[in-house]
Symmetry: C2
C-alpha cells in the first residue's frame, strides 16, 4: 500500500494526529486526570473496555453537524420519511431477518493461552508480516551489498525471511480475497501456511462461528421474551413499511430513513474508531418497483458526476486501478446495475465532498459475491483512504425483496405495493375455496386461523396442495398455534383450482436500495483528510474542516486580560449566538499566537481578535485558519462576514474582496 | 383529580387524541397495513412488545426539533461541554454508582396465574378502584332517590361499594404517599387492606426487588466482561469529569451535557409513551463548588420568574395547592435550596414554554425524602399535567458529591477540582509515612499497590490506622488484588502522625446539580397541551405546535391537479427549502378544505395555496392554522413571510399587518 499523504503532500503521521485528537478531547484519553497518553477508550478510569469510545465536546459537535447535514442532504432534500425505532429488538424479528443464523464472524481459540482471535484477521496479520519480512530481507540483501554495517539498524521486531516469488504471489492473492473465505476455508489456509497465534507461537483450534449481536436475556421480569441489540437500523424500517407506504398515500417509490446507534459484539476490536462495538448509523431504505429497470426521477441531475469505480471483475483480476467514470455511463454499460443505485452513489459522493472529505481519497468498490451480507444482491461501498488503508464508510446495497419477503412470510401480513394497471389484464391463479361452514363445524375455534392461513397461502403452495388433494383426497397446511402447527384438510372441506381473473391492479413486493452510513468511520476518515501541519512548524497542526462542520465555527480572543476588552468580547459573542453561530471565547492567559494554534488544532475556521483598536475605534480583526490572512472592520461587518461564511452564503475570498486586509503586527508566532 | 381541559376549555378526549396521533403516524399503530386500531407499539407485525414505540415521520421530526431547541437553549447558550458516551456500560461502573444494588422496583407474583405486577401500582390501582366504587355508590344513592330507573345505566365494571368516611381518608392518605413506601411496607398495606390481583382475585406473594437494568451477559466473545444498558446518561459524564475540567482550563463551575437513549426494564409498562423501556434523555451535569452557597452567575436574569412550587411540607400535609412564587423569593426563603438549583428550575420552565407547553399545566414538585433516588440529596421535578395526571417530565436533582466520591474511592483517581486560595492557610492532616525500602523488601511486587493505597487513603482512615498502630503495633489496609485484599502493616514499616502544612490551593470534590429531561414524556405531554378541536366541528382536530417545533412548518397545496400549477408548486417548495424551511407538497386529489384539516391534525402552522390567480397574477394565499385567516401576496413576499415566522423573526400578527388579507372564497369547509 502506498503511503498516505496529507493535504500538503507530506506523509501523514497517524500517531501525531491521534495525539492531537485525543489532546483536544475529540475522543477520550486514558488516565483520569487527562494527562496520561496511550490507548484510548471509554470507561478509562475503570481500565477501559475495547471497542467503546467517548466523544468529547469537539467530537460530539462534529458528529452532530455531520448528522445535521446528512438530514438536510438526504431526508429533507428528498422528502424521505424519517422514523425512530427501538434498539432492543425481539429475537423473532432477527431470527426472521436471518441475523440469528448468519450475522457471524469466524473466530479461533488458542488452546494454550485462551486468546480468542478473528480467523480472517489472524491469516491477514501473519501473511502480511511474512510479506514485510520478505521485503526487508530483499532490501537488506541490497543494503548489505551496499554497506554491511547498516543491517543491524533495520530489522526491529520483524523477521527478515526471503520468500520465493511464487509464494509471494500466492500470499498476495490470498490477501486480495481475504474477505471471500468462509470458516472451513480459513481453517485450510491456516493449516496450509502453518499460521500460528503470533503472541504464543501456537496453532489455534479450528474456526467456529460467533454471532455478533449483543443478547438481551430478558425483556420484562420473566425470561420468556428474549431479544438483541439491533445490528443495523434497517429492520425497524422494514417492519414499518406498510404504514409508511400508506402515509405516502400509497405512492411508490419512496424512502424511509433512520439515524441511530447500532451494536456489534466484535471479537477483537482494533483500528481505533473504525471498528467499534457501538456506533452511530444513518440508513436509508429506498423502496422501488423491481419492474421497469429501477429508474430514478432525478437521475438526470447526477448523470455527469464522475466516480472512481472499482468493480468486481477488476478486483478478481487482482487489481485495484480505478478510472473516473460518469455515473450515467456506468449505468449505461451495466457496471452499476440501475439508475437508483447509481443516483445514490453519486449523492453519497456529493455528501462526502460537502462535509470536507478529499475527492482524491474516495472510491466506490463493488462487493465480491461471497463477501456480501446474506440479504444483498449487489453492493457498492464508498471507501475512504486512510492510514489504515481503504475503509468502507458507506455501504450501498441492493437488498432486493429479501427482507420484506421474509417478514411477510413469517407474519402473514401483506408487505406489498400496488400499481394501477394502464389497462386490465387477465391472470391465472390458484383459488382455494374452503367450505366455510364445514370447516367451522369441524374445527370450531381453530377455524378462523385455518381460513386465514388458506387466504394467505402462496400460489406455489396452493398448487402443491391441489395436487395432494387430487391424489390423496387430503392435504396438510401450516397453521402456527393450531395443534402441532400442521392441519390436515380433506377434499370435502376444500377445493383448490386454477382460475382466471381480470386484474386492474398489479401487486408486488418492492425492492430495497439501502445506502448505509457509518458516521463514526466517516468522522475519523474526515479527520485524516483535513489534517496537515504548517510548512514552517511540524508541531502546528491544522484541521481544515469546512465551516459548516467545524466543531466551533468561530473563536473570540481578547488580546489580553485587560478589563476594557471584556464587554466587547461579551457583546460579540452574544451577537454571533443570536444569529445561531456558536462561538467560544478563549480568554486564557497564553499569547494570541498560541491561542490561534490551539484553534487551528480543533479546526476552528475563524477567529476574531479584540485589541486596543477595538476599544478605541470599534474595529476587530478576523483571521482565517488555512491562509492565516486577516481583515479588519467594524463589529457589525465582522459579525456579518462570519455569519455569512458559516452559513455558506459567502466565502473567505468574497470577504477578502470587500473588507480591508489587515497587515499589522504578526501575532501568529507570538509566544 | 379534576378533568383535564383542552386549550379551548373543553374536556380533553384522550382516546380521540390517541387515535389522531396514531393515524398521523406520530407513533406507530397496530396492524401491518396501518388501518387497524388498538394498542400501539413497536414490532407490531410481530404482535408488539410492550414498552417500545416507533416514531413515524411527524413524531420523529417533532423529537428532532425539541432536541435541537434543547441544545440551543442549554448547551450553546451556556457553553456546556456536550459529550457522547456508550450505552453499554461495564458491570463495575454501575456497581460502584449503586445501580446494581439499588436501582430496583418492588414486584409481586400471583402464585396461581403467574402474573407479575408492580407492587405500588397494584396497591394504587385497587385503592383507586375502591374509592371510585365509593363515589359511585354515593352518587347512586342520590340518583336512586332522584330517579330509580337511572341506576342501571351507570355502574359498568366498577363495583359500587360505599366506604366509611374514615376508610376513604385512610386510602387517600396512602395514595398521596404511594411513592414513599418500600417493599415490606407495601406488603403490609396489601395484607392490611386485603389487596388482590384484580385479574384473578388472588393474594400475591410478598414483594421482591427487581433490578430495572437490562443485562448484557457478555462483552466480546468470552463471558468474562459483563455489563448493562445504561439506566441514565449521567455515569458516562462523571467518568469524564477530570478530562472535561482540564478541557475547561480547570475553571469551575462548568456543565457537561449528553443527549442519548437510556433503558429501564420496566416490570409492567403502561400509560403509553409515558412509561417505556427505551427512551431518549437529555441530561446536564452542572459541577459546582459545594462551598459558598452554590451561587449562580446568571441568577439575576431569572430571579423574577414565577414558578408553581409544590414543596415537601405541603405534600406531607396531604395537599397539592401551589402558589406562583418568584424563584428569587423561593431561594431567599429556603424553599429552593440554592441559586444554582433555582436557576435551572427557571431555565427548565422557559424551555417548556418555548416548545409550546401550557404554563397553566406546569408545576415543580419537590421529592419526598424516601422517594428520592439513592444518589440525590434534593430533587424537584417539572411535572406537566396530562390526562394521566401530573407527570414527571424533568427531574432536577442535587446529587451532591455522591457520584464523584464513589468513583474516586473505587478507582483511586482524583476526581477533584482545585481553587487557588486568596491567601495561604495552615491545615492539619494525617501523614502516612511508610519506610519504602522495608516495604519493598517485604512485599516485593505487591509493594507498589500497597504504597499507592496508602497514598490514596482518606484522612479518617489514616486516623483510625494511626490508633491501631499505636495500640497494637500493627494495622490493616485494603489493597484490592493483593492477597485476600487485606494487608497488615507493622509499625516498623509505617508511621502515621498528625501534621501541619501550608496550603495555597484548596482541593474539593464538586457537587452536581442535574437537570434530566425525559424527551418522550415531554413530547407526549406537549401533544396533549396543544390539542383542541374546532368550535364548529369536533372531528376537526388541531395541534397548535409553535412554528419552531411543528413537525412540518409549511405545506404547499395546489388547488387541483391542473398541470399549470405544477411548476409553481415545485418553485415554491424549492425556494423554501433553499432557506432551510422544510415543507411538504400535498397534491392529493381531495378538497383543499380536507387538506387544510389534515395539516391542522399534524400541527402544520402555515399552508400556501397555488390557484389560478397564482398562474395569472403570480400571487399566492397563505393560511395560518389557529385562526384560519389568510393573506394573499406575490411569491417572494409569501416565502419571506413564512421564513421569518418559522425562524421566529416575525409573528402572524406582524405579517397580517403588512400583507393584504384574503377573503375570497371560503375553502375551509370544502369537501
Amino acid at each position: 500500500m502506498s503511503e498516505v499523504k496529507t493535504l500538503k503532500g507530506k506523509p501523514l503521521d497517524r500517531a501525531e494526529l491521534d495525539r492531537v485528537l485525543r489532546a483536544s478531547l475529540f475522543y477520550t484519553q486514558v488516565g483520569c486526570i487527562g494527562l496520561a497518553e496511550g490507548h484510548c477508550s471509554s470507561f478509562d478510569i475503570y481500565g477501559g473496555v475495547s471497542g467503546f469510545y467517548d466523544y468529547g465536546p469537539p467530537g460530539c459537535s462534529l458528529q452532530a453537524k455531520i448528522v445535521d447535514l446528512w438530514r438536510k442532504h438526504f431526508v429533507l432534500e428528498e422528502n424521505m420519511l424519517e422514523v425512530d425505532c427501538p434498539m432492543i429488538t425481539p429475537h423473532e424479528v432477527l431470527q426472521t431477518s436471518g441475523h440469528v443464523d448468519r450475522f457471524c464472524d469466524w473466530m479461533v481459540k488458542d488452546p494454550k493461552n485462551g486468546d480468542i482471535l478473528r480467523a480472517d484477521h489472524l491469516v491477514e496479520q501473519v501473511l502480511e508480516a511474512r510479506l514485510n519480512g520478505n521485503r526487508l530481507a530483499r532490501a537488506e540483501a541490497i543494503v548489505e551489498k551496499d554497506d554491511p554495517k547498516k543491517k543491524k539498524k533495520k530489522g526491529g521486531a520483524l523477521e527478515a525471511v526471503k520468500l520465493d516469488d511464487a509464494v509471494v504471489q500466492e500470499y498476495e492473492e490470498v490477501l486480495a480475497k481475504i474477505d471471500n473465505y468462509d470458516g472451513p476455508e480459513l481453517g485450510q489456509l491456516m493449516e496450509k501456511y502453518d499460521i500460528r497465534n503470533p503472541a504464543s507461537g501456537e496453532r489455534t483450534e479450528a474456526p467456529v462461528q460467533f454471532n455478533l449481536m449483543f443478547q438481551i436475556p430478558n425483556i420484562g421480569p420473566s425470561s420468556q421474551l428474549k431479544g438483541f441489540l439491533r445490528p443495523e437500523t434497517a429492520q425497524g424500517q422494514f417492519l414499518n413499511f406498510a404504514k409508511l407506504l400508506e402515509f405516502n398515500n400509497g405512492r411508490m417509490p419512496f424512502a424511509s430513513a433512520l439515524i441511530g446507534k447500532s451494536f456489534r459484539n466484535e471479537i477483537a476490536p482494533r483500528a481505533g474508531l473504525l471498528r467499534v462495538r457501538e456506533f452511530l448509523m444513518a440508513e436509508i431504505e429506498h423502496f422501488v418497483d423491481p419492474q421497469g429497470g429501477k429508474k430514478h426521477a432525478r437521475f438526470e441531475e447526477v448523470r455527469h458526476i464522475k466516480l472512481n469505480l472499482l468493480n468486481r471483475e477488476v478486483q478478481l483480476s487482482g487489481k485495484t486501478t480505478v478510472t473516473p467514470t460518469p455515473i450515467g455511463e456506468a449505468v449505461k454499460n451495466g457496471i452499476v446495475d440501475n439508475e437508483t443505485l447509481g443516483y445514490f452513489l453519486a449523492r453519497i459522493q456529493l455528501f462526502a465532498i460537502k462535509i470536507g472529505c478529499d475527492p482524491n481519497k474516495m472510491r466506490f468498490r463493488q462487493h465480491m459475491a461471497s463477501e456480501m451480507a446474506h440479504y444483498a444482491s449487489d453492493c457498492w461501498d464508498l471507501e475512504l483512504q486512510t492510514s489504515y488503508g481503504w475503509i468502507e464508510c458507506v455501504g450501498c446495497a441492493d437488498r432486493s425483496a429479501y427482507d420484506l419477503t421474509v417478514h411477510m412470510k413469517k407474519t402473514g401480513q401483506p408487505l406489498v405495493a400496488k400499481e394501477r394497471l394502464p389497462e386490465p389484464r387477465e391472470v391465472e391463479y390458484w383459488a382455494a375455496e374452503p367450505d366455510k361452514k364445514k370447516v367451522g363445524m369441524k374445527f370450531r375455534k381453530d377455524a378462523q386461523p385455518i381460513l386465514a392461513a388458506l387466504d394467505n397461502l402462496a400460489d406455489d403452495l396452493k398448487e402443491k396442495m391441489s395436487l395432494e388433494l387430487k391424489s390423496n383426497g387430503k392435504a396438510t397446511i401450516d397453521v402456527p398455534g393450531v395443534g402441532d402447527g400442521n392441519v390436515e384438510l380433506t377434499s370435502d372441506l376444500l377445493t383448490i383450482e386454477k382460475k382466471k381473473r381480470v386484474e386492474h391492479v398489479r401487486t408486488y413486493i418492492p425492492n430495497v436500495i439501502e445506502p448505509s452510513f457509518g458516521i463514526g468511520r466517516i468522522l475519523y476518515a474526515l479527520c485524516e483528510h483535513v489534517y496537515w501541519c504548517r510548512e514552517n512548524d511540524e508541531a502546528r497542526v491544522v484541521l481544515s474542516f469546512p465551516p459548516i462542520v467545524a466543531p466551533t465555527p468561530v473563536a473570540v480572543l481578547p488580546l489580553s486580560g485587560n478589563a476594557e476588552f471584556k464587554p466587547l468580547v461579551a457583546r460579540l459573542s452574544k451577537a454571533l449566538r443570536e444569529q445561531e453561530v456558536y462561538n467560544v471565547v478563549d480568554d486564557s492567559s497564553v499569547s494570541i499566537g498560541r491561542r490561534y494554534s490551539r484553534q487551528d488544532q480543533v479546526g476552528t475556521p475563524y477567529a476574531i481578535t479584540v485589541d486596543f483598536e477595538s476599544v478605541q475605534k470599534g474595529t476587530f480583526t478576523l483571521r482565517e485558519r488555512d491562509s492565516t490572512l486577516q481583515v479588519r472592520a467594524p463589529e457589525a461587518e465582522i459579525v456579518d462576514a462570519v455569519v455569512n461564511m458559516v452559513k455558506g452564503r459567502e466565502t473567505w475570498e468574497d470577504v477578502m474582496k470587500r473588507l480591508p486586509k489587515f497587515e499589522g503586527q504578526d501575532l501568529e508566532n507570538t509566544e
